[in-house]
C-alpha cells in the first residue's frame, strides 16, 4: 500500500501515471468522462452551495416556491444572529461555539499528550501481547456511542461529571486516544530507530533521544493527528446531547439541533450557524489534506 494522499491529489503533470485515454475511445470517451465527473461534482456540491445561499437569504425567500436560485435579496442578518442575541449581547449559539472550542481543544491536547508517547513506545519497544493490546485499543472505537452513553452516564452520576465540560473532555479524550495511538504509530514507524540508537551512542538517554531527535520529525504527523481528533470532538453529537443540558456547557452541535422544533424554524439562521460551524473544520481539513487517508481510517490505510 505504498500510497499517500500527497500523491493522490498531486497535480504535478510530470508524475502523471494516467494511462492515455485517447488510445481507444479517443476524445469522445474523454469528454464523456469529464461530463460525468462534472455532473457528480455538481450533485455533491449542490447542498453545500444551497446552504451558503440560504444563509444569506431573507426568510421570506427561503420558503419561496419555486425555489429562488439567483434573484433574491442578500442579507447578512442571519450571521449577525449567530453571534448576537436580539437584545444585544452574545447569543447562546456563540456561547456554544466557545464551549466547543474549549471542549474540542482541551480533549485534543490531552489525547495527543497521552497518545503520542504511547504510540512511540508501541512502535519502539517489545511489549507483551502487542497485537492484542493494539486491537483492544482499536476496538474501543467500535462501540456505538448510544450504547456507551448509558454506562458513562451512570459513572458520571457517581462522579458528579454530568453536565460539565470536564465530563465531555474526558469522554472525547478517551475516544480520541485509540485513534491517536494508531495513527501516530504509523508515523513513528516511519522514523528509523537508528536515529535514536545513534544519539544514545553519543550518550543521550533514550528519553532524550526521543525528545531531541524523533519528536521534531514527528511534529507534522502530530499536527495531522491532532486535527482529526479535533474534528471528531468538534462534530460529536450523541455524548453532547445526553451528558449536557445547560447553556454554559452545551457545545455547538446540540445547540444547532435546538434551532428547530420550537414554534418557527429559522432556516436562514440554521444555515448561517452551520456555515460558521463548518468553516474551521474545512480549513483544518485543508491544512492536513496530505494526511487525510490516514486520518479517516485511524491510520489503517497509509503509506
Amino acid at each position: 500500500m505504498a500510497v499517500s494522499i500527497n500523491e493522490a491529489v498531486s497535480t504535478d503533470p510530470a508524475r502523471d501515471r494516467t494511462p492515455p485515454a485517447r488510445r481507444f475511445g479517443g476524445r469522445g470517451l474523454s469528454v464523456l468522462e469529464i461530463a460525468v465527473l462534472t455532473v457528480l461534482a455538481a450533485v455533491m456540491l449542490f447542498p453545500v452551495l444551497w446552504m451558503i445561499e440560504t444563509s444569506i437569504k431573507e426568510n421570506r425567500d427561503v420558503y419561496a416556491i419555486p425555489a429562488k436560485f439567483f434573484d433574491f435579496q442578500v442579507t447578512l442578518d442571519h450571521f449577525k444572529d449567530v453571534f448576537f442575541s436580539s437584545g444585544g449581547g452574545r447569543s447562546s449559539l456563540s456561547v456554544s461555539f466557545l464551549n466547543s472550542v474549549v471542549v474540542a481543544g482541551v480533549s485534543t491536547v490531552l489525547a495527543t499528550v497521552l497518545g503520542v508517547p504511547a504510540a512511540w513506545a508501541y512502535s519502539r519497544f517489545a511489549v507483551k501481547a502487542k497485537k492484542d493490546q493494539l486491537f483492544f485499543i482499536l476496538s474501543t472505537r467500535f462501540m456505538p456511542p448510544v450504547v456507551v452513553v448509558i454506562p458513562i452516564f451512570l459513572m458520571y452520576r457517581q462522579l458528579g461529571l454530568i453536565d460539565t465540560k470536564l465530563g465531555l473532555i474526558l469522554i472525547y479524550t478517551a475516544f480520541n486516544v485509540p485513534f491517536t495511538i494508531w495513527m501516530m504509530k504509523g508515523f513513528v514507524d516511519e522514523v528509523p530507530a537508528e536515529y535514536e540508537d545513534a544519539a544514545m551512542l553519543d550518550g543521550y538517554t533514550r528519553l532524550q533521544a526521543f525528545r531531541r531527535f524523533t519528536l521534531p520529525l514527528l511534529l507534522p504527523g502530530i499536527a495531522a493527528t491532532a486535527v482529526f481528533a479535533l474534528i471528531f470532538s468538534w462534530n460529536e453529537f450523541v455524548f453532547a446531547i445526553f451528558l449536557t443540558s445547560s447553556d454554559s456547557v452545551r457545545t455547538a452541535p446540540p445547540a444547532i439541533a435546538g434551532l428547530i422544533g420550537g414554534t418557527t424554524v429559522d432556516w436562514g439562521l440554521v444555515a448561517a450557524a452551520s456555515v460558521v460551524f463548518a468553516l474551521p473544520v474545512l480549513v483544518f481539513a485543508y491544512l492536513v489534506r496530505k494526511h487525510l487517508i490516514a486520518g479517516v481510517t485511524l491510520g489503517a490505510v497509509r503509506r
Binding site: 497535480t11 451512570l154 453529537f237
Partner: protein, 316 residues
C-alpha cells in the same frame, strides 16, 4: 490524569546543546520503565472510560436496573438477552439496519470508486477536484441531517422544487415507508461517498505505471487492463474502506434522530435508534445495556470474521 512526561517543557525542534549527559541507568531498565510510563496513562484512561463502562453495562445487562427509578438492581440473568433476541420489534429494526447498511455502503462504494476512477484519469485539476469532493465528509452529522431535512421537505424543499420545474410530481421523501429509508441511504451516501473515493483514489494512483506500459505493449483492451491490473490492486484497499463504512453505518444514530426520528411509524428506526428509545424513554437501563452489549458483540465478531477473510484473500 496528569501528563506523565514533560513533553512540552523545552523546544524539541532544536538540537541546541551538543553536550550529552552521561547515561545514568542501564539501557534495558530505562527502556522498560519508559514503556510503562508512556503506555500506562493511555491504557488507564481507556480502562476507566471505555472498559469499565462496558463491564458495568455487562453487569447491568443481567439485571432489571433502571437509572431513574432508583432502588437496587435484581438479577434476571439472561432474561434481557432472550427477550431482545426473541422480540419481533428488534427483528424489525435489525432488518431495517441491514437494508440501510447494505444499501448505503454498496451505493457509496460504487459511486466513490467511479468518482475516484474518473479523477485518476484526469491530468489537470485533480487536487482541486479531490478537495471539493471531500467537503461533505467533514461536516457534522447534525448539520447534514438538518440541512437535508430542509432540502427534502415535500412542500418547501429545493429538491421537490427542482423536480417540479422539470414537470415531475412531488415526492414524499421523508414520510413514506420506502422513500424515507431510501432518503436516509441517499443522505448517508452523500456524506460518505467521499470517504470511499479518497481511499480508492489512493489505490488507483499507486498502480505502478510499468504495469500499464506492459499492458499497452500487449495491446490489451481498456476493460482488460482495468479488470486485470487496476481492480486487483485497488480491491484490498476498497475492502478496508467498506469495513470502516459498515461499522460506522451500523452505529448510525444522529441522522435518524434528526432526519426522520425513525418515521414514518417505526420504518426507519435502526438498532441504534431503538436502543436509545429503550434507554431514555422508559429508562430500562438493564434491557438497554443488554441490547448495547449485543450490538458491540455483533460489530466485534463480524469485524474479526471479515479481517480473517481479508487476510486469507491476501495469502491466496
Amino acid at each position: 490524569m496528569s501528563d506523565p512526561v514533560p513533553l512540552t517543557t523545552d523546544h524539541p525542534g532544536q538540537v541546541a546543546s551538543a553536550t550529552p549527559p552521561a547515561p545514568g541507568w542501564s539501557r534495558r531498565l530505562s527502556d522498560r520503565w519508559l514503556t510503562v510510563a508512556f503506555i500506562s496513562p493511555a491504557l488507564l484512561l481507556l480502562l476507566a472510560m471505555s472498559v469499565f463502562p462496558l463491564l458495568w453495562a455487562l453487569y447491568l445487562s443481567f439485571t432489571d436496573y433502571s437509572a431513574t427509578r432508583g432502588g437496587s438492581a435484581h438479577f434476571v440473568w439472561f432474561e434481557n438477552y432472550t427477550a431482545i433476541l426473541t422480540s419481533a420489534q428488534v427483528h424489525q429494526r435489525a432488518l431495517t439496519t441491514l437494508i440501510y447498511v447494505v444499501g448505503a455502503v454498496t451505493l457509496q462504494t460504487v459511486l466513490g470508486f467511479t468518482i475516484a476512477y474518473l479523477i485518476s484519469r484526469r491530468t489537470h485539476g485533480r487536487g482541486l477536484l479531490t478537495t471539493l469532493f471531500l467537503i461533505p465528509m467533514m461536516l457534522s452529522p447534525v448539520v447534514v441531517g438538518l440541512f437535508w431535512r430542509f432540502m427534502l421537505d415535500a412542500q418547501f424543499g429545493v429538491i421537490n422544487s427542482m423536480l417540479g420545474s422539470l414537470g415531475l410530481g412531488q415526492v414524499e421523501w421523508l414520510t413514506r415507508q420506502q422513500t424515507a429509508l431510501i432518503s436516509l441511504i441517499l443522505v448517508d451516501t452523500w456524506q460518505w461517498t467521499p470517504f470511499i473515493m479518497l481511499i480508492a483514489l489512493a489505490g488507483l494512483t499507486a498502480v505502478p505505471k510499468y504495469l500499464y506500459e506492459a499492458a499497452s505493449i500487449d495491446r490489451a483492451s481498456e476493460w482488460f487492463r482495468f479488470r486485470t491490473i487496476t481492480l486487483p490492486l485497488v480491491w484490498p484497499l476498497l475492502l478496508i474502506a467498506v469495513l470502516f463504512r459498515a461499522i460506522e453505518a451500523f452505529r448510525l444514530f444522529e441522522l435518524v434522530y434528526i432526519l426522520t426520528s425513525g418515521g414514518p411509524g417505526v420504518s426507519t428506526e435502526t438498532l441504534s435508534f431503538h436502543v436509545y428509545k429503550v434507554a431514555f424513554l422508559g429508562f430500562n437501563t438493564g434491557t438497554a445495556s443488554a441490547y448495547g452489549i449485543l450490538m458491540v458483540l455483533i460489530v466485534i465478531v463480524l469485524t474479526q470474521l471479515y479481517l480473517r477473510y481479508l487476510n486469507k484473500l491476501k495469502e491466496d
